[in-house]
């Protein structure tokens, strides 16, 4: 779940802002444009800090509090930056009954971060996710776009070491 303002200072570039403004322009006259714009904005910046929400607010003419409301409602929007390697452990039912809870706890212990957190060096972030639909491989986790299935707790060290942990 999204929480309050991040400790990491905003470092958006002019180029990113130009892309965002172009995106807003494209969606401006579309009904219900806010969601597609926020999704695009998150793709550009990686997260939705208040500075980005302000640009969207101005561009679409929607009050900032409404945008904040939407950004904090949906679990895919994040107000905090994510790690270089985003780890998501599936806690959907099929994975859960096959022990993904243990996988999650072990990762949390190994990385020293809780759900939604990011290691201080910005390398790893850890999230629990809902079913990604790869139930045949349960239990499953993803690191960025790579999927790891049929996991056991013993596999974790090897996997993390691939990413230089």
């Amino acid at each position: 779940m999204a929480n309050t303002k991040t400790a990491v200072p905003f470092s958006g570039t002019k180029e990113q802002e130009a892309r965002l403004l172009k995106l807003i322009e494209e969606h401006k006259d579309q009904k219900g444009a806010l969601m597609p714009v926020l999704q695009g904005a998150q793709e550009i910046y990686g997260y939705l800090p208040i500075e980005v929400q302000e640009i969207v607010s101005k561009g679409l003419g929607i009050p900032l509090e409404e945008i904040y409301g939407v950004a904090t409602f949906y679990s895919q929007f994040t107000l905090n930056p994510k790690g270089q390697y985003k780890i998501s452990v599936c806690l959907g039912t099929a994975c859960y009954v096959k022990g993904s809870g243990d996988i999650f706890n072990k990762l949390s212990e190994k990385l020293g971060i809780k759900s939604g957190g990011c290691t201080p060096d910005g390398k790893f972030s850890l999230d629990a996710c809902r079913c990604i639909g790869a139930c045949g491989l349960a239990p499953v986790m993803t690191i960025n776009d790579e999927v790891y299935g049929r996991l056991t707790v013993d596999d974790l060290d090897d996997i993390l070491s691939k990413y230089g942990a």
Binding site: L34, Q76, G133, A134, G136, V147, G149
Partner: protein, 595 residues
């Protein structure tokens, strides 16, 4: 003309286990052997047997290769495609019998299945509209636009007995007739592809394997109710489905099957794709519409129903993906054909996502009225590791757990409701004796607490309190009185919550209380978790006779709770033990037990 086709599953399950690499390897290997003009590689949708992925089928023989590695590809090309010798080592073992190779449809997994909604999944290339058209695609739309009135269409759907596959089972034809009856200058057709139940992936497989079936059906719905615009609301967690839908919509527009003046009949219809952003409640119809409008996805009170005031305050129809996937075939084959399958009140077939403690995890489609036993024991191949079947969970967080004593129940909408569960979208999670039912109920409540949108109090506060009570039970801190209180609270929430999410949230608790009360009572009175799951209630101990004193456990205990001298039996200090289970995993002599 190609002399052979290599079908590689491109569904999410197989893609996750590396099917894209298999496709590349085939293409490379075929080029090297000069077979590229004789053999075609096709990326299809889901075959259903996800447990055996990545899956490859070679036609015309229909050889079903399972768990294929990129390194195996060369052998398949050299042996099978070049020399005509099937690579037995890689065949799905079920298809090999005493030196004979059975066809896939003869295996236990496929024998009892009847594929209607999934008929094209794993058969056609979903990214090529021509393949869909070759399988009678868009013929139903043509028939509807040129030969039928909107009332005819609604009448056919009504007579087919089709009910909503999203879970609640409302008759689809009736829903359409309400939206048709509303008079307005603009109406909408929506598709609910926000498949949020954890462990359910039926809709995803339809979208990935046969996206045009959904598009065609939405156009048919548009014609029936008088709408010219459709929206598909799909989970962003399904990138492959999103991509294939984009491709499919683009191709349909190019061919004039979407857009202005379809088939020269003057009927206009177009579809826009909207992505969800990870909110379970958006699977509820009014919340979904609020979300498309660009707001927090909170449900609205009904009435007014969406058929009167839905998306953007206009009359709208919302159906689930699987519901739509049935429509073109009902139009083409007739309502009587559809109504001949299933039970008295539930017609047709249902797709289930089989998962959990079962051999053949994957996607199955069976006629309504098939028993749970047939699905689990015959199609699913039973429970692995010689364990005993304990319960099946249907309906996701809105459903309930069905105990072993009811395994012969014929599955249809009404029977499932009668035993305290529900059809839901079709997730079917199998559990064995190692699963604690209180823990499972708590798991689902944690989910609903997390996903409650917070608009109404019974759901926002009620589910949280219910979760806390369950937590007490799993910690051995609850009393028998608490169990009664819990039950009462469940009914308060059911009766008072605003939308389907809250109204069904207590189902996992109620159904486990009903069928597994013993287990709750063991937690409360004996402070014992019979399945050995609830950490607070289990203790580890070392059997002195079996312990060789190798010290491995003591060295691996993260909190130093194990002591003893070398070659002498060790002991665990239960006060220090954090019950992580590391010692059990390490012990080579099976000397550590959990009670």
């Amino acid at each position: 003309m190609y002399r052979a086709h290599v079908l590689v599953c491109g569904g999410t399950g197989c893609t996750s286990s590396g099917s894209a690499r298999i496709i590349r390897a085939f293409e490379e290997e075929l080029r090297e052997t000069g077979l590229q003009d004789e053999v075609k590689v096709v990326k299809t949708g889901c075959f259903g047997l996800c447990a055996l992925g990545p899956v490859v089928i070679v036609y015309p023989e229909g050889s079903f290769y399972s768990r294929v590695n990129p390194e195996d590809v060369k052998e398949i090309v050299d042996e099978h495609l070049l020399k005509g010798r099937i690579v037995k080592r890689l065949l799905y073992t079920e298809t090999v019998q005493e030196d004979q190779i059975k066809s896939l449809s003869g295996t236990d997994f496929y024998k009892k299945q009847k594929r209607v909604a999934l008929r094209n999944c794993g058969v056609i290339n979903p990214e090529d509209i021509n393949e869909y058209i070759a399988y009678d695609g868009y013929q139903a739309l043509g028939k509807v636009l040129t030969e039928m009135t909107p009332d005819d269409v609604i009448d056919v759907i009504k007579r087919s007995g089709l009910r909503g596959r999203g879970g609640a089972g409302f008759p689809t034809g009736v829903k359409w007739s309400f939206a048709k009856a509303s008079v307005d200058d603009q109406k909408y057709v929506c598709c609910n592809a926000d498949e949020g139940d954890p462990g359910a992936f039926m809709d995803r497989s339809v979208l990935e394997g046969d996206p045009h079936a959904v598009i065609e059906a939405m156009a048919i719905a548009g014609y029936a109710i008088g709408a010219n615009q459709g929206y598909i609301y799909v989970r962003a967690e399904y990138p492959i489905a999103v991509k294939r839908l984009e491709i499919a919509i683009g191709q349909a527009r190019e061919m004039g099957l979407l857009g202005k003046d379809i088939f020269g009949t003057g009927f206009d219809f177009d579809i826009e794709l909207r992505l969800g952003a990870g909110a379970f409640v958006c699977g509820e119809e009014t919340a979904l519409m609020t979300s498309i409008e660009g707001h927090r996805g909170e449900p609205r009170p009904r009435p007014p129903f969406p058929a009167v005031k839905g998306l953007f305050q206009k009359p709208s129809v919302l159906n689930n993906v699987e519901t739509y996937a049935n429509i073109p075939q009902i139009i083409l084959k007739g309502p009587e054909w559809f109504a001949s399958m299933g039970t008295e009140k539930s017609k047709g077939t249902k797709v289930f996502a089989l998962g959990g403690k079962i051999h053949n995890t994957g996607l199955v489609e069976v006629p309504m009225g098939t028993t749970l036993r047939e699905i689990i024991e015959e199609i699913g191949g039973g429970i692995p590791n010689g364990k005993k079947f304990k319960a099946a969970q249907t309906g996701g967080p809105s459903g309930g757990c069905i105990p072993a004593s009811l395994i012969d129940t014929e599955i249809d909408y009404d029977n499932l409701i009668a035993i305290g569960s529900m059809m839901g979208s079709g997730g079917l999670i199998v559990m064995d004796e190692d699963n604690c039912m209180v823990d499972i109920a708590k798991f689902f409540l944690e989910f609903t607490v997390d996903e409650s949108c917070g608009k109404c109090t019974p759901c926002r506060v009620g589910t949280k309190r219910l979760y806390e009570m369950l937590d007490k039970v799993t910690k051995g801190e609850a009393t028998l009185e608490d169990l009664d209180k819990m039950e009462k609270l469940c009914y308060y929430i059911k009766d008072n919550a605003l939308c389907g999410l809250g109204q069904t949230a207590p189902n996992p608790v109620l159904s486990t209380l009903r069928y597994f009360r013993d287990e709750y009572i063991a937690h409360v009175t004996e402070k014992r978790c019979p399945a050995g799951v609830c950490k607070k209630l289990i203790n580890y101990s070392i059997i002195a006779d079996k312990c060789k004193g190798c010290t491995l456990c003591a060295r691996n205990c993260p909190v130093g709770a194990i002591s003893g001298t070398v070659r002498m039996p060790h002991t665990i200090d239960t006060a220090k033990c954090v019950k992580c289970g590391a010692c059990v995993e390490k012990c080579k002599f099976g000397a550590i037990v959990k009670k």
